[in-house]
């Protein structure tokens, strides 16, 4: 597989995106490309335009200038920040995983296994905990056999070990499925080392590169300070353990 990742075959490419909400310029000349199989993390302070960029990349909104190109017939799995489901809508987890397309029961079982949500099938989606909901959303995204998985702040509501476990899980999924991962985080602590590439956004792209390059970059330090050394250590510490345990709030 890795040998087939040719250059110039980006899954998704954004050229010079700009976006304003009224007077406020949210994104200014943002360009990026996502290559097959890589894990890219978008970091930036609150209000730096991260979510707007995700909305542009997934086609929710259109840019004022610039454009987004997808590989033809790109299979895109999208995990939104959160899903607030109106309790007036009855919906079991299994039914939700079959939306909008019916999936083969075997595929459902596999996705449930990969995300650790076996046995939740008959539960109502509106009654899931934050962590369970996140896993169900991930399972649903995996059912598209994605070439690219886009996650918007996937670990909101998880504690730090839970977060670390989630990222390691993503890394393993990437290795197993060969999909690229593009995710947003406002929390740099655990996310950095799980990424092949980090893009630091503050309305424009401040800096990008491997996690270590970015964490040393002056632009990054200007935004986030110096306090990430301990967090990287925490990640490495977690890495020594077995990751079979999931931090599930069942």
């Amino acid at each position: 597989m890795p040998g087939l990742w040719g250059r110039g075959m980006s899954l998704l490419r954004a050229d010079n995106l700009s976006l304003s909400y009224g007077e406020r310029k949210v994104l200014d000349g943002v360009s990026l490309a996502i290559e097959p199989g890589e894990i890219v993390t978008l970091v930036g302070p609150n209000g730096s335009g991260k979510s707007s960029l995700v909305k542009l990349l997934t086609g929710q909104i259109r840019p004022d200038a610039g454009r987004v190109q997808r590989k033809p017939d790109l299979r895109l799995g999208y995990v939104p920040q959160q899903l607030a489901l109106d309790p007036s809508l009855p919906m079991t987890v299994t039914r939700f995983l079959n939306l909008p397309k019916r999936r083969h029961p075997e595929a459902i079982r596999r996705a449930e296994g990969e995300t650790g949500i076996m046995g939740l099938g008959e539960r109502q989606v509106s009654q899931l905990s934050g962590g369970q909901m996140q896993r169900v959303l991930l399972a649903r995204a995996l059912l598209t056999s994605p070439e690219l998985l886009i996650l918007d702040e996937p670990t909101q509501g998880l504690d730090q070990p839970g977060e670390a476990a989630f990222y390691l899980h993503l890394e393993r999924l990437r290795d197993e499925l060969g999909c690229a991962v593009f995710m947003v985080s406002h929390d740099l602590h655990v996310v950095m080392s799980a990424s092949d590439r980090v893009i630091c956004l503050n309305h424009h792209i401040c800096c990008e590169g491997t996690p270590h390059v970015v964490s040393e970059a002056p632009e990054y330090r200007a935004l986030f300070g110096h306090g990430t050394g301990g967090a990287l250590a925490l990640y490495q510490h977690e890495h020594d353990h077995s990751h079979e345990h999931h931090h599930d709030h069942a």
């Binding site: 929710q60 007036s88 809508l89 009855p90 039914r95 939700f96």
Partner: protein
């Protein structure tokens, strides 16, 4: 064949068939109205039907056509406002009641024949003709087919517009489908329960069905069953106790809602 023709001679049979037809369309559509919190939206569209009646009578076109056009115009207007992110509560109130009042005023200008206003406000299910039945069932089948066809996309867009877009579904198109369906149901329901109670037939059976359902499909199905039960029960109540039929149907639906809620609470 002759048995059916004979049965259709009976006004009670025609009334029952009209009620069942409405329930078939109102069950699934009403479920979406509940899920998407469009209750007031339904009200505004239904109230606009009175204006449609007035215009139809003034211009001597069929009442169903007039109702359909004006209800559709109202539904599209409300839908457009909603997409632009207006604060909807007051806007819907203004539109809904203005349309109703304007319709009532306009009807008073209809020359010649005295118009039986209460028939349009509260329905006149006992006077349903065979032609009315054709319109009611035609509309009901159209709406049900439309909703079945778009079901998965509608559900996905209802759960999350974000997820819908990521799956290649255009939420605006799905909203338009619901808007069209709502206008058709309003036009069809006018004869059965009247403009003031159309929204009730959308919301009450669906809300009652919620307590019995674990999936959206089950809820839509139960809403149809409860709607049919309300139509038949309301007819029986009206026949037995000489009460107005449209309101009797809604009263039975409300009783079903109360029953389900009190059982589900236990």
């Amino acid at each position: 064949m002759s048995i059916i023709t004979t049965m259709l001679d009976d006004f009670l049979v025609r009334a029952a068939l009209a009620g069942v037809g409405l329930a078939v369309a109102a069950g699934p559509l009403g479920s979406f109205v509940v899920w998407r919190r469009m209750a007031y939206f339904g009200d505004a569209t239904a109230h606009a039907a009175i204006l449609g009646v007035a215009l139809a009578l003034l211009f001597s076109v069929p009442v169903t056509a007039g109702t359909l056009v004006v209800a559709l115009a109202m539904a599209l207007a409300v839908s457009a406002l909603a997409t632009r992110g207006h604060a909807m509560d007051a806007t819907l109130g203004v539109l809904s009641h203005s349309a109703l009042a304007l319709g009532l005023v306009a009807i008073s200008f209809v020359p010649g024949v005295r118009v039986d206003l209460s028939a349009f406000l509260f329905g006149d299910i006992l006077s349903v003709t065979r032609a009315d039945l054709g319109v009611i069932w035609g509309g009901a089948v159209l709406v049900a087919a439309l909703l079945v066809w778009r079901w998965s996309a509608l559900l996905t867009a209802t759960m999350s517009e974000e997820l819908a877009v990521a799956s290649g579904i255009d939420p605006r198109r799905e909203r338009l489908v619901l808007t069209l369906a709502l206008a058709v149901v309003v036009a069809v329901a006018l004869k059965v329960v009247g403009a003031l109670l159309i929204a009730a037939m959308l919301i009450i059976p669906a809300a009652a069905a919620r307590g019995l359902s674990r999936t959206p499909e089950a809820m839509a199905g139960w809403a149809v069953v409860i709607g049919i039960g309300a139509a038949l029960g309301g007819l029986a109540l009206s026949y037995g106790a000489d009460t107005p039929t449209g309101p009797s149907i809604v009263v039975v639906a409300a009783a079903a809602f109360l029953g389900v809620v009190s059982v589900a609470r236990r």
